[in-house]
Amino acid sequence: MNNGEGSLAIDARGLVKTFGELRAVDGIDLAVPRGMIFAILGPNGAGKTTLMRMLATLTHPDGGSASVMGHDLVGAPGNVRGEIAMTGQFASLDEDLTGRENLILLSRLWGFRGGAARARADALLATFELSDAAGKQVKDYSGGMRRRLDIAASLIVTPGVLFLDEPTTGLDPVARKSVWGMIRALAGSGVTVLLTTQYLDEADQLAARIAVIDHGRKIAEGTSRELKAATGSGFLHVALADPARLDEAAQLLESRLGASVQRSVEGATLAVVAPSARDANAALTALLDAGIEPADFSMGSPSLDEVFFSLTSKRA
C-alpha cells in the first residue's frame, strides 16, 4: 500500500491530456514531497486545472503515469480518492442546503454516523468561523464564507493531499489572507497541499516550491528564490517622469544591457536584467545623456511577476 516515510505525495511522469486537437497538458512531470505546499503557477488556459483534475481522479490521463500517496492514479483510483480532497474553482457545495447540512452530508459519505457526523460538521464550522451562518442556505453566503465552507468540506477526514484550484480567486484581501492562514495551518498539520494560482504573490507567500506552467508544459520549477535567481540576479527597475518616452527608454536600455526589457504601462516603469551595478549605472547614465529623466530607479531581485513574464516570453 503506502510507501515509507519521506516518499513523494505526488509522483507524476509525462502526464498528457488532450481535448481534440488541443494538448491541454502536454507531458508534465511533478514530484511533490509529503507535507509541502506546492504551487502550480500559470495564466488562464495553461492547463493547471486539467492537471489537477487528473491528479484528483476526475479526468483520465491520455498519457503518462502518476501515483498519489503511493497509489496508482489509473490502477487504483478508489485508493487515491481515500487519500485526497479537492476544492474546485467553483464552489463544490449544494447551494440549496445549509452550510451545516453540506458538512453533515459529506461526513456521512465518509462514514461518520449520526451524532459523529453532526459533531464533525460543528467542529469544522467553528474552526472556519462559520458557526453563526451554519443554519443559512449556502446561496446566501458571501464569497469568502463560501470558500471557507468549501475548504472545510475538504477536511472532513484529514486528507493526505489537498488539491486547491485557485483558492483565493475572486476574494477580497481580508478573505484572501484568512484563506492563506488556513492553508498554512493545514500544511503545519502535515497535509500536502497542491494549489493552482495565477497570482504570483500567492505562490510566493505560500509555496515551498513552484512549478510554472504555460501551454500545457512545465517551463520552470523551483523555490521562489531559485526562480528569481534563474531569471537574473540583479534587476534594474526604472520609472520615468515622462511616460511618452517609454519606448525610447526601453530601446536604449535594451541596447545597453543586451537583455529584453519588460514594461508595465501603469506607472511607466521598465524592468531589465543588469549583470552588475556598474552596468546598471552606465545604462542610467545613458538615459540621462539622452535627456530622459527617471522619476525613480532601484536595483534588486526580480519580482515573481518579472520572472513569470521572462519565462513565458522566452517561449513565445
Binding site: R108, T127, L155
Partner: protein, 262 residues
Amino acid sequence: MNALQQVSRPPAPSAWSNALVFGWRAVLKFKHVPEQLFDLVMTPIMFTLLFTFVFGGALAGSPGDYLQFFLPGILVQTVVFNAVYSGMGLSTDLGKGLFDRFRSLPIWSLAPFAGLMVGDVLRHVIAGGIILTIGLILGYRPEAGILGVLASFALLIAIGFGMGWVFIVLGLLIRTPMTVMTIGFTVLFPLVFASNIMVDPHTMPGWLRAFVHVNPVSLMTTAMRGLMSGEVMAAQLVQALIAPVALTLMLAPVTLWLYRRR
C-alpha cells in the same frame, strides 16, 4: 484551529448507506425548495381540470365518465414529465462542480444517482398523490379500491424509475438545463399525446393507431387503468414494464460510463 488536527477515516460505509445519504439530500431539497413541487403538479392539475371539464363531455358523454377514463393516464403523464425535471436538476448540479466533489470521494460511483432516484420516487408519489386526491374530489372512483391504488402507484414508481434514466443520461450529456427541458418535452409531448391517455385511439387514422398501440406510454396507461379498475391482465403488466426494464438495463451502464468518463 482544533478541527484541523488529524482526523482519520472511519470504517468505509456501505454502498447502500452512501445511497441513503443522497436520498436524505433529496429530502432536504424538498424542505428548502418546496416550490419545486409546485412546478411538478401545476401542469397535470391544469390538464386534469381542462380536459375533464372542457373536452370531457364531448369525448365521453359527461365530465364524470371522462375523468374515470382519463385519471390513470394523467398519472402516467405526470410521472413521465417529472423525469424531465430530475434531468434538469442533474444538469444544474453538474454545472456547479458539486459532482466533482462527489466523484473525488471514495464512495460507490452510482450512489449520487441512486439518491436522485430516491428523490424522484418521492416526487412521483407526492405528485401522484396530489393528482389522485384532486381526482377523488372531482368524483373519480378506483373500482379496485385501496389495493388497486397501491398497486398502480407501485407501477407508477417503476415507470418513473425507468424513464428517469433517459433524463439522467441527457443531464450528463447536456450542460444547459434548459436544453434538457426542451429536448425532453419535444420527445415527450408526441409520446404522451399520441397515446391512449386522452382519447380512445379508434377514431385516429390507421398509421397513427398502429403507433399508439405500441407506444410504451399507451401500454403503461392501459395497465394503470387495469390496476385501478381491478381488471388488469398479467400480459398488460408485462407490456407496461417492457420499456422501464429495457431502459434501466440499457441506460444504467451508459450512465456509469458517462459519469466516470467526464
